[in-house]
Amino acid sequence: MLEITKLTKRYGSGDPVLKELDLTVEGDQLTSVIGSSGAGKSTLLRCINRLVEPTSGSINLNGTEFTTLGRRDLRAARRRIGMVFQGFNLIDRLTVMENVQSGRLGYISTWAALTRRYPREDIRHAYELMERVGIAHYADKRADELSGGERQRVGVVRALMQRPEILLADEPTASLDPKTSEQIMSLLRDLANELNLPVIINIHNVTEAKEYSDRIVGMRYGRIIFDDLPDQLGKDEMDEIYAGVPAEDRAEVGAAA
């Protein structure tokens, strides 16, 4: 169970990007976070595993308080959180297998990491996951030889390799074609169920979000203004979440001019 309480994040001296935000995610829920550009979705996810240092508030995963962990403990704790990135963040010059196995780096010995002698168990697991998303035949290809869609699938598999207690995904389907998107979304949902793994996804495609999520969280200006079942997300709620986007205001003015 992930419990976020009064989470605030301020970059530099500007306005806070997250404002005393509370959020609890449990069990096998797939939670989608939606919101306009700049609402703070990525910041929220990155605060959870402290890639971004929260300004204040508490983040508690299955009893571990994350905000107060020291360097070493944080490293161990991060293994329990899988993360998929908006920009893939693969290591271009390594093969797909190495990229995937890098998700296990927290567990294997330095020597094994250096010589690429991964445990059999890990390799089997990697192949299983790669088959599932359809990239097993690319195991020996270099990551930068793949198309955008394929790259993102590598990113998803890498995160799953950690056997995480929670999975965070920052727009994991942004550059996938709809069928592959569907596969990944259903994979994520299935995993949430099978492994009793809470999954939090930042997503722009509301249709997809509604179809696959157990719960939808709508953010605006660093606050959660909607938190309910997908069915409850209607036209009005959508308007509220995406309304008053500064960009939109300006766009209308501009168009009028």
Binding site: R78, F85, R93, L105, A113
Partner: protein, 269 residues
Amino acid sequence: MTNQSLNQTLDHWSRFTLRQRLMRYGGLALTLLIVGWALSSIDVIWAWVWDAPSQMADLFGRMMPPDPSNLPSILEAIWQTVNIATLATMIAVVVSLPVAYIAAQNTTPNKFALWVGRFILVSSRSVNTIIWALLFVAIFGPGIVAGIVAIMFRSIGFLGKLLGEAIEEIDRKPVEALEACGASRFKIVLYAIVPQVMPAFFAVAILRWDINLRESTVLGLVGAGGIGMILQGAIDTFNWPEVAMVLLTILALVVVGEVVSSFLRKKVL
């Protein structure tokens, strides 16, 4: 910004504010001033400059044709030099890696380590080759060991500095991804940094290798021969055709080095 100002469309834009522009002009003026100051010390005798091509031709003319009569001893010396340069470069590369790591702003553990790293690199570079040679001859006795160690110490600064800069230029995102996996520092280096600096690594190592080929003149200083000694000897006795031969041999080696490095780079780029 208010809606008011947005209603009228702007047709003005400049890259910098007035203040920034003044500062930039100031910087430019200062640079020009410094260059001017430096130029002031150069008194060029223009008559000599016009005459330069014929004087250079005099030298190149005397180099022709290259004299291969001493080729066997040149080849032997160059083989020895290659060995020395290769060993010295390899060892220096290994030693310079951790130094580069702590001397790069984005990987250094802390400010103190950063400056320790920089100090090591700068000392290695600033201490004259002659000094290194003298020191190691005193320690190891005359011979190629002293030469190798001197060249090695001299190379660390160069390699560490350039590798450190390559590290500073890496893409941070993969590093972040591995941090999120809970990988240790060392493994992050191994998986996210090493692959990214590989191309620079080969380029820099080969570049230093061929500098070391030429730098092996210091081997003469420590009584260990090498191509530098032959070259120096040929220059001292104005044996220009032999100088030309040595230069051609070095050129051939640099080309070989270039081919090897571009092969390696292609493999990793």
